[in-house]
């Protein structure tokens, strides 16, 4: 019996070890390959050059256009997901009956279960043509459409985390507000949401981190042209799209061109790592507040 326990324990430790090893392996691989890249391209150039054309005749290795594309699609996604997610969370928390909540919450979760490739084609074939009717000058591949659909994708994340934050606001604050003659809406907007703001911030940070790493939707619908722009109506390329484009193409292994994907990858990795940690730190802080 005792031996069996020990065996099980060892197996559990091994499983935990595998995930740690995998993470470690990814970091090492990214760092080693990116080091190859940075031996040939100075970090300063990488961070300040405004062009990204590693596969072409006039080679430039500035990550900014890809970062801009990533932040632009992410920005659009958050602009969609934050207000919508917050409205949903407020509605579910402050207005909806228990029965309605029980129906709508699982339905919201379904949004998170839709494969991202489906979202991508939805953006390209439904959302883009629709938006073009409103904005005729909009290009077929653009950050607006891809970002909006990505916003829908991360909606459940924002709404459920925000709802948790709203639920954590003590009942006493709501009662105080109502007792002073506030309506439900006034109470929600002036007391509950501000009191939950740190929790809502966490949900947004985690949503940003998710959107930054999202690949399929932007690869399909946002375009493949690295462009340093804040205009959401033209084609852009995100870091993830570039990595997919190169790693599925015929760029020879070991060349500088190939190493660009690791440089791009490590940029993405650092970006999401920082965001997740900021989110985690915030969440810790926010927990202390109410417990």
């Amino acid at each position: 019996m005792k031996q069996r326990e020990r065996l099980i324990e060892a197996l559990l430790a091994l499983s935990a070890g595998i995930s740690v090893l995998t993470t470690g392996g990814i970091i090492v691989m990214l760092a080693v390959e990116a080091a190859h890249f940075f031996r040939q391209v100075p970090l300063g150039t990488f961070l300040t050059d405004t062009q990204w054309t590693p596969l072409f005749a006039d080679k430039h290795f500035g990550i900014l256009p890809l970062v801009a594309g990533t932040l632009l699609t992410t920005g659009v996604a958050i602009a969609v997901a934050l207000p919508l997610g917050l409205i949903i969370a407020i509605y579910l928390n402050e207005y909806a009956t228990v029965g309605f909540r029980n129906v709508i919450k699982p339905l919201l979760e379904v949004l998170a279960a839709v494969p991202t490739v489906v979202y991508g084609f939805f953006a390209l074939t439904v959302v883009t043509p629709f938006l073009q009717r409103l904005i005729p000058s909009m290009a077929g591949f653009n950050a607006l459409s891809a970002g909006s659909v990505m916003g829908i994708m991360i909606l459940p994340l924002v709404s459920s985390l925000s709802e948790d934050a709203l639920t954590a606001v003590p009942r006493a604050l709501r009662e105080a507000s109502y007792a002073l003659g506030a309506t439900r809406l006034q109470t929600a907007m002036r007391v509950v949401v501000p009191a939950a703001s740190s929790g809502i911030t966490v949900s947004v940070i985690l949503a940003i981190s998710r959107a930054v790493g999202e690949t399929m939707i932007v690869a399909i619908a946002a375009g493949q042209e690295p462009r340093l722009t804040a205009n959401p109506l033209v084609p852009v390329e995100t870091i993830t799209t570039y990595i997919v484009q190169v790693s599925s193409g015929d760029v020879a292994y070991g060349t500088l061109e190939y190493d660009t994907i690791f440089a791009a990858g490590i940029t993405l990795f650092i970006l999401t790592l920082v965001l997740n940690n900021v989110g985690y730190w915030f969440r810790q802080k926010f927990r202390e507040q109410y417990e």
């Binding site: 003590p170 006493a172 604050l173 009662e175 105080a176 507000s177 109502y178 007792a179 002073l180 003659g181 506030a182 309506t183 006034q186 002036r190 007391v191 501000p194 009191a195």
Partner: protein, 250 residues
């Protein structure tokens, strides 16, 4: 006309009959203490007057409650308007996580008051009324959460007074406070009686004796006895009352 009239009020939570056939009359500018053991219905009774029970999903109500002759459960009664006339102070201090200033002005800002001069004046007046002005007048922009418990509770009172209600409902307002803070709140209640009609729920017999003009004793959802405070505590006409005030149960 009496300030408050309660006529044959029954309250149910689902099938639970929590208040049974209550009738009483309360005059303006008096303090009425509501006493009784836990779960006797006194808090539910208090919350009838600003309709805070409406948030409970299976709350049901019969009878009539009149404030200055007006039925507050009439269909045309706007709940928000009612709550501006009937302020409430809760058991635990519950200031908003905002500045002291914003806490006091909250109710007025809801009503659309934007003038800084008006708000400044109300803040000072309300904080003076709540005997907090001298302690915080230099820190109005500080977070209300930085205040001590007793100060927070007086801030909550100031927040209610700023809206200028006629009636003040207090649900064990000093139970979470130390003796010095409690004394300050009691003093305050005495002063406020000049302008407000006050209903206070309390577990503290001495407190009821000190601050109130009349006392109502509740038990198991019934109003057992309602009389001048002095008489109720010295010559109760019911045995249940006698047992409760002498500490044999509750």
């Amino acid at each position: 006309m009496p300030e408050l009239e309660v006529k044959h009020v029954n309250v149910y939570y689902g099938t639970n009959h929590v208040l049974q056939d209550i009738s009483m009359t309360i005059e303006a500018h008096t303090v009425t203490a509501l006493i009784g053991p836990s779960g006797c219905g006194k808090s539910t009774f208090l919350r009838l007057f600003n309709r805070m029970n409406d948030f409970i999903s299976d709350f049901r109500y019969e009878g009539s409650i009149l404030i200055q002759g007006q039925d507050i459960y009439a269909p045309q009664q706007a709940v928000e308007e009612l709550r501006k006339r009937v302020g409430m102070v809760f058991q635990r201090p519950n200031p908003f996580p905002k500045s002291i200033y914003d806490n006091v002005t909250y109710g007025l800002v809801l009503q659309g008051v934007r003038s800084k001069a008006v708000l400044d004046e109300v803040v000072e007046k309300s904080l003076r009324q709540a005997a907090l002005w001298e302690e915080v007048k230099n820190d109005l922009r500080k977070s209300a959460l930085a205040l001590s418990g007793g100060q927070q509770q007086r801030l909550c009172i100031a927040r209610v007074l700023a809206v200028e209600p006629h009636i003040l409902l207090m649900d064990e307002p000093a139970s979470a406070l130390d003796p010095i803070s409690t004394a300050k709140i009691e003093e305050l209640i005495y002063d406020l009686k000049q302008q407000y009609t006050i209903l206070i729920v309390t577990h503290n017999m001495q407190q009821a004796g000190r601050v109130s003009d009349k006392t109502a004793f509740f038990n198991y959802g019934h109003l057992i006895e309602y009389d001048d405070t002095g008489r109720l505590f010295t010559q109760p006409s019911h045995e249940q009352t006698q047992n409760y005030i002498t500490g044999r149960f509750g």
